[in-house]
């Protein structure tokens, strides 16, 4: 047996992975080789050092810290989902509130009837509409400034109320955790 092979077998012997015949072969070599004897003693010494080392106990706060971080992460996730839902809801509400105005606008400019009747000329009409839309919007904004302001105010009130309710619910959740 060569020293290189003997040294490889030493590691396995320490882990109880050699059979009787292999152990006898290794012992025979080690007994006759000073360098391998020194190596074997060193490996045995290291093995004993590591085997006797204690398991380090975890500080008791680990559980509390993990649970706190989990709760915070859940809160952040809920806040994100809730915030997104709230934002989308607000936009939907605003669109609903503005829908009659938009429909009225489209009807007044003749675009809506054209869209309903269909046909290739619709595209031409839409392009014509887009060309004059800015002018029409300015004129209509003057006419509908009061209902527009009222609708915007209502949307804002609804949004603030929902935000307030959401923050209250979040605070209660945090108190529970």
């Amino acid at each position: 047996m060569r020293c290189k092979q003997a040294v490889q077998m030493m590691s396995e012997r320490l882990d109880g992975r050699l059979d009787g015949a292999e152990i006898a072969l290794l012992d025979e070599h080690v007994a006759a080789c000073d360098a391998c004897q020194a190596e074997w003693r060193k490996l045995q010494s290291l093995d004993a050092l590591f085997a006797a080392a204690p398991v380090m106990p975890a500080p008791l706060r680990v559980r509390v810290q993990v649970m706190t971080r989990l709760a915070r992460r859940d809160q952040a996730r809920r806040a994100l989902v809730g915030g997104t839902a709230l934002g989308l809801g607000t936009v939907a509400l605003a669109l609903l509130a503005l829908a009659p105005l938009l429909l009225g606008l489209l009807g007044a400019t003749g675009v809506l009837p054209a869209l309903i009747s269909g046909g290739p000329e619709t595209i031409v009409q839409i392009l014509a509409f887009l060309e004059t839309a800015s002018h029409a919007l300015l004129v209509l904004a003057e006419k509908f400034i009061v209902p527009l302001a009222f609708t915007g105010l209502c949307s804002l009130t609804v949004a603030f109320t929902l935000n307030g309710l959401w923050l209250g619910a979040m605070r209660r959740l945090r108190a529970v955790h």
Partner: protein, 186 residues
């Protein structure tokens, strides 16, 4: 059904109380692994927390046929390996950590046995620090968890022959490190 199986099932459904019980059951094995791999208690504590958080988010991938302990230690060891790889090895701080002079201040005397234990602990961590992250994980799982080569291979996603050669290589590196140093009599 064992308590642990029940906790795992509940935790998978989002029950944080049940997961808290799993944390209590496994905090010491996970912390010890992190401590042996990272070499200091502050980082070990943070790594243990992070490992549990990762485990919680990956609970749906846990195979109930596999021991939960192995799965948990696998997450922790991979996290520590990644962390060690990311960390630029700061030998200076390692020396600070382990070569800290042992205080024998007269106002707070330590029993001799405690001093010897502390010194031995520092020496062990100093030895582990010379190993590559994966070799360190293999040695830790072998000595502190009595894992077989097969279990270490499963935990570290390696083959048994890779573990065999890694352990051999690690022991050779450790033996070279202690060359000329006084042996710690057990």
């Amino acid at each position: 059904m064992s308590d642990e199986t029940e906790w795992i099932q509940l935790a998978r459904k989002g029950d944080q109380v049940a997961f808290g019980r799993l944390v209590v059951a496994y905090q010491t094995p996970v912390y010890n692994l992190a401590y042996r791999m990272l070499g200091n208690s502050v980082e070990a504590e943070d790594a243990a927390q992070e490992s549990f958080l990762r485990a919680y988010t990956r609970l749906h991938t846990y195979d109930p046929e596999r021991p939960f302990r192995s799965w948990m230690l696998s997450i922790a060891s991979h996290y520590c390996i990644d962390r060690l790889r990311r960390r630029r090895i700061n030998w200076l701080s390692l020396e600070d950590e382990f070569a800290r002079p042992i205080r024998l201040a007269s106002d707070n005397p330590e029993p001799e046995a405690a001093v010897a234990q502390r010194e031995r602990e520092g020496y062990i961590q100093q030895l582990l620090a010379v190993l590559s992250p994966t070799d360190r994980a293999a040695i830790t799982l072998l000595y502190w968890y009595d894992y077989s080569y097969e279990e270490i291979a499963e935990t570290l996603n390696l083959t048994v022959s890779a573990i065999k050669s890694r352990l051999f290589r690690a022991r050779r590196a450790l033996a070279k490190t202690v060359q000329g140093e006084p042996e710690y009599a057990m």
